[in-house]
Structure formats: C-alpha cells, structure tokens
C-alpha cells in the first residue's frame, strides 16, 4: 500500500524529474504521538478537513487549495475538505494567530467533534514566524489550541502537505 501511494505521489505530481519531488524529510514534526495513533485507527481511510486561516499571508491557503486541483487531486486518497468544523476530523490551521482571530479559532476548535487532530501549517503557524512578538498577534497556533502536527515551510509545498496528511492517516508510515 505504502509503495503504491509513494509511486502515485511521484507519478501524478507534476514535477519534471522524479528526483525533484524531494519531499523534505523534516518537512513535518509530530508533536503529539498519541493522537496520530488514534487518527490512524479512526481516520485511516477517510479524513475530513476544515481549514482555518488565523492570519496567514494567504500563500499557505493557496497551497492547500492546490491540493484540490486535478494534479494533486486529494480526494482520491479519501481526503475531503468540509464546509463546517462540525463535520471535520482535522483542522488545518495557518498563519500566526492574530488577536482578531483568536476567538474565532477557539470557537472553531470547540465546534469540532472529538477526537480531533490539529495541524499547524507553515512557519507562521509554528511560532508566529516573521510576525513573532507583534502587538497584533497572539503567537503560534499552540498558544490558542493544542497542536498535534506541524508542517514547516513558507509556504509548505502541496506535496509536503499531502505527504503529511497521508502520514497522519497511516497510509505512509516512514
């Protein structure tokens, strides 16, 4: 299964040379191991995602959006973006959390049914990135809600986002 998916990833994703695919080995970081185990058991074949922009520059959103285009075509892996947090298993959160989005992010988190996974996407979501310490931001996503996985990059490329999601589902294990 895993080899099949990796080869799918390689062949369908539009880079010119296969070696160029180079998903950086350290592109993601698991913060909470237990939630990954739960996720693999429960969401291994179907994962519903709600995306929350908590203050990004929009480039992170664009890369997440790209996952839906026919090239990455994320739905073929059983991953689906949903319109409401009430239907979601996983929250993809981008941006340093701005003061003005703090409450909305909290409410979205509370509206997501348990068990839920939170993935912080991008350098901003990690620790505030270049906006760290600003009067107008709260900080990384984990300042507001518990984070399970972080993805690095400014922005992370779609193949890295996809790789991480498949890892969380247990479709890729290394």
């Amino acid at each position: 299964m895993q080899r099949l998916i990796l080869s799918l990833l390689k062949n369908r994703i539009a880079t010119k040379n296969l070696e160029d695919l180079d998903i950086r080995k350290d592109c993601m970081e698991v913060v909470n191991k237990t939630s990954i185990d739960i996720s693999r058991k429960l969401f291994g074949s179907s994962l519903h995602i709600r995306e929350v922009d908590a203050g990004s520059c929009n480039a992170c959103e664009l890369e997440i959006n790209a996952l839906n285009n026919p090239i990455y075509d994320i739905e073929r892996f059983g991953i689906h973006f949903v319109a409401s947090p009430r239907h979601a298993d996983l929250l993809l959160v981008t941006g340093p959390v701005s003061r003005n989005m703090e409450m909305a992010l909290k409410k979205t988190y509370d509206a997501t049914p348990k068990p839920k996974i939170v993935v912080a996407v991008g350098d901003c979501a990690r620790d505030g990135g270049i906006f760290e310490n600003s009067y107008a931001i709260v900080g990384g996503v984990d300042k507001v809600i518990p984070v399970d996985v972080r993805i690095k990059g400014c922005p992370p490329r779609p193949q890295e986002l996809l790789y991480t999601l498949l890892y969380i589902m247990g479709k890729i294990r290394s």
């Binding site: 520059c57 992170c60 997440i64 090239i71 003005n100 009067y135």
Partner: protein, 528 residues
C-alpha cells in the same frame, strides 16, 4: 519638469493662502505642503474638478522626532501621466483633529478611519466613527503607529462593542457569514441584509488578519523590508516586493541594472498570469462549471511549477531584492517560452469553451454590476475598474522597470459585470504572455543587481506598480542607521472591497460567491 511646474502654479493660484511650500523630488513626484484646513478643498479640486483622479492613498506619519508634528499625506496620480501629486498636511498646532474629506470624497472614509485607529487622528466630519483595524479585543486609546508605541507591546484583552449597520423593515432579515468561511479562503465577516433573495445591503468587516505589518517594517533594516513585503499578500509576492524596492531605490537614488528590470517585468507578468488563470477557474467553480475549474487548475499549476523551476519558489519568493533580482531568467528562456506556448493554447481553448456556453454566460452576464460612477467614487482600481470603463493602468501610464519598452493593450470593458471582469482577466493573461515573450527577445547582459548605498535618514519616496489586482503602492521614509522610519503599504483591495459591497446590491445571495470571486480581493493585503 515644466508640466509639474505648471501644475504647482495652477494649484497655488487656486489656493494662494493654503499652499505653504512645494517641492519636486528627484524622481519627479510633486509634494505640496498645505494647511490642514484646506485638505478637503484641495483634494477635491484634484479629484473632482481638475483631473477626475482617484485617491490612491492617504496615510499618517509620526514625524514628531523631526519637526514636532504628525502629518497626513494624500496621494493622487494625474490620469495617464507619470506624475504623482502628494499633499502633505502637518497637524502642527498640537491638535490631532483635521477636517474630513469624506463629505466631499467618499473614498477618503476608510483611509481616515484607518488613521484614526493607528494614530489617533480625529477626522472631523467623517460620519463613521467606529473602529476599523483594532477590533473589540484591543484596549481603548491604543495607537500602534505612534512612535511611542513599541512593536512588541503585550496588550491586555478588552471587551469593546462594535455595531454593524442594520436595515429594518417588514420581511428584512440578516445573514451573517464568517469570519471562518466555508471554503479554503481568508477570514472576514459579511453581513447581508436581504428581503427575500435579493441583497439590499452588504456590510463587510475586515481586519481579522491584522498583524501589525506597517509597525513591523519600522523595526527593520531597509534590506529586510523586502522579505516582509513579499509576505504581505501571498499571491502578490512579486508585486509587493517590486513596489517596495522601487520606493527604496527612488529614495536612495539607485538605478537598477537593465537586466534586473527585464527580469522584474517577467516575474510580475508570471504572477499576473497564474493569478488570472486561477480567477478564470474560480469563476467557473462558482457557477458550478467544474470542467472549466479543472482545466484552469492544471494550467495554473503549470505556471506555478515553472515559477518553482525558475526561482525555487512557487510564488517567486526571494527573487526580487533591493537593487535588482537574485537570478537571471533569461537563462531559462527556452523553458519559459515552451511552457507559455502551452499555457497560451490552454487559455485559448478554455476561453473558447467558456464563452460559447449559454448556461455559463447566463450566470456571469449582468451579474454583480459595478457601474463607472460608483467605481470612481469609491476609488476602485485594477481589473474591476477597467471592467467598468475606467482606463487606468500604471504599467502604461507611469511606466516603471522596462514597461516602457514593450507593447501591450490595456483591455477596457464597459458593463462592469462579472462577465466584463472575466474578460479583462482573460485578455490580460494573453497580454502578459506577449509581454514576457517580448522581453525575452531583448538582448541583455551585465549585472543583476546594484548595491543600495546607505540611505540618509528621513529620505522618502513613493513606489507604485500595477499588480494583478491593481496598483500596489509603497511609501517609505528612512530613519537613522538604515532603518525604515515609516512604510505605508496600500494594496488595491483596500478600496476595491467597498466596490464589492456595491456590486452585489440587488443580486441574489447565491450569486455572492461569484461576484466575490470576480473581484478576488486580498484580505491579508488589506488588513496588514
């Protein structure tokens, strides 16, 4: 320079008491220092009486360190001429109030509210006294852009009140949407007042993403500012970076090498191209024409991948640098030409299919009309303005980098509906490809970059480029030790958002996403 002198003389003749001093900067921008009491009259003279020119930007500065005053700058451009007029009104009697220009020029309202929050200026006569940038969680009395307010302030959490406009009457009801939306998009709050299906009022509340970027700029070295400018609005990475660098280069008197100019034009057009393609796809998605969306998705991805191949970043980050560029795209001439050839054919086919589909046209024609008069009053710019018959494009009117050396058409449509905005984008995408091809045919060598000499304190300059959403404007003032003292950023979205709230009136709620996509405005670039 004569034209500029004549202009100054004319304004002086018209307002002999009010113009205190005049100055033409080395880069040719006209600065007029005026009494603050005359600001509405002189601004309106430029806007309404003399030139019919939109207010490009209006912003405050805290120059107390220099001469003890705050100042208000208002920027205009003479239509179709490379001349910028900047009115400079010092608030020098120690009071922070100034007469609002809003009663005469509606487009001033948002700028004034922004200054009210960020500096604590009081626009006397502006009917809207609500906060804008600082939401209810910010304590009262905070003015982040004042020099005595540190960037790293840890503020308490307050619980203020904010009231949206309500429309009352039998059968009226409200639909609140956001800040977290249903799609993968940025946050903002939309409050629809509807009677049945048609929208009677739309109030848009933004600034959920306010991150304090202008204040952050003031903590940076002039070279570091470029990296932040690239991250103001992700899809306008190049536009913002070039506008920033242009301001910096003008202020320091740096001439960028020819090769850098060509490279910048290519990057700006690649950015316009992939975004316009994405919008064509977005409009297809919002009328549920998924074939169009899928096709555009593939085309966009190819251009974005080309970006990555050329510069290492899908958004062309790190390519623009103060004084020049970091790589030479001419080396990949063949790759660029062959990819763009495919893109051109792809858009051609897609446009042919879209424009021949009756069900598609039925949804986009006469939907979301923004008329010319409204667009002018709101200072709307970019594709929504060109779709409403306003013939403005900075690339042609005030050519920067190498735009003076290429031929291109500025598409103008009259109807101001979704269809017109779509057509503007399709036409511009073709023009972008042609511009890139023309530039690649030029012979250029030499260095990619000039080192920016140190910048003397308190020099200022304006940078203005035509991003894919419209004119992006940066005004910077240097401080001591090569730092930025003030950096005003204006993304075209700032004024165009009001355009959207008028365009949807009378349309049904299900057409809102379509209208919204046809504007495709930036939240991040607006909220800063």
């Amino acid at each position: 320079m004569d034209e500029r002198r004549l202009l100054i003389d004319e304004i002086k003749r018209e307002f002999p008491e009010d113009v205190l001093s005049t100055d033409i900067s080395t880069s040719g921008d006209v600065y007029l220092t005026i009494r603050k009491e005359s600001l509405p009259r002189i601004a309106n003279f430029l806007h309404e009486v003399k030139y019919k020119t939109p207010l490009l930007s209006m912003f405050g500065t805290d120059e107390r360190e220099l001469d003890g005053t705050y100042k208000i700058y208002s920027v205009f451009q003479i239509p179709r001429r490379p001349i910028f007029i900047i009115l400079k009104a010092p608030l020098n009697d120690g009071k922070l109030d100034f007469p609002s220009i809003t009663p005469l020029m509606y487009s001033g309202s948002l700028f004034e509210r922004e200054m009210k929050d960020m500096f604590g200026f009081v626009p006397v006569g502006n009917p809207d006294t609500r906060h804008m940038v600082l939401h209810e969680n910010f304590p009262e009395g905070i003015h982040p852009l004042r020099k005595d307010f540190p960037y790293k302030s840890a503020l308490n959490k307050a619980k203020g009140l904010y009231s949206l406009h309500t429309i009352e009457g039998e059968g009226m009801f409200e639909i609140p949407v956001g800040p977290v939306h249903a799609g993968i998009i940025e946050p903002g709050h939309f409050r629809f007042s509807v009677a049945g299906e048609p929208i009677t009022n739309l109030e848009i509340r933004l600034y959920y993403k306010h991150k304090g970027i202008e204040k952050l700029m003031e903590t940076l070295d002039i070279h570091e500012g470029c990296r932040v400018a690239e991250r103001v609005s992700g899809d306008s990475t190049v536009g913002h970076a070039v506008a920033y660098c242009q301001a910096l280069e003008k202020a320091s008197g740096t001439e960028t090498p020819v090769l850098a100019k060509y490279n910048r034009v290519i990057a700006m057009e690649l950015e316009r191209l992939y975004n316009h393609i994405a919008d064509i796809g977005g409009i297809s998605t919002d009328v549920a024409f998924l074939f169009g969306a899928a096709h555009a998705g593939i085309l966009r991805e190819k251009v974005v991948n080309l970006n990555e191949e050329l510069t290492g970043s899908r958004f062309l980050r790190g390519f623009i640098t103060p004084g020049g560029v970091t790589r030479d795209l001419f080396r990949a001439k063949d790759t660029i030409t062959s990819t763009l050839q495919g893109t051109k054919e792809g858009i051609d086919k897609l446009a042919e299919i879209l424009l021949a589909s009756a069900s598609f046209l039925d949804r986009v024609k006469t939907t979301g009309i923004l008329g010319r008069k409204t667009a002018e009053d709101l200072a709307v710019t970019g594709p929504p303005a060109r779709a409403a018959g306003i013939d403005l494009d900075i690339r042609r009117d005030a050519p920067y980098e190498a735009y003076g050396e290429v031929q291109f058409k500025v598409p103008i449509y009259k109807d101001g509906d979704v269809f017109s905005r779509l057509c503007v984008r399709i036409d511009e995408a073709f023009e972008s490809i042609s511009i890139i091809e023309q530039v690649l045919d030029k012979k250029a060598d030499g260095p990619l970059k000039t080192e920016i000499r140190t910048l003397e304190p308190y020099r200022y300059a304006l940078g203005c480029v035509e991003g894919w959403r419209g004119p992006i404007m940066y005004w910077i003032m240097s401080g001591p030790e090569n730092r930025l003292y003030r950096c005003k950023i204006k993304d075209p979205s700032f004024c165009n958002w009001s355009g959207l709230s008028y365009a949807v009136l009378g349309n049904i709620v299900p057409d809102f996403p379509l209208c919204n996509k046809s504007f495709n405005l930036s939240y991040a670039g607006n909220d800063l």
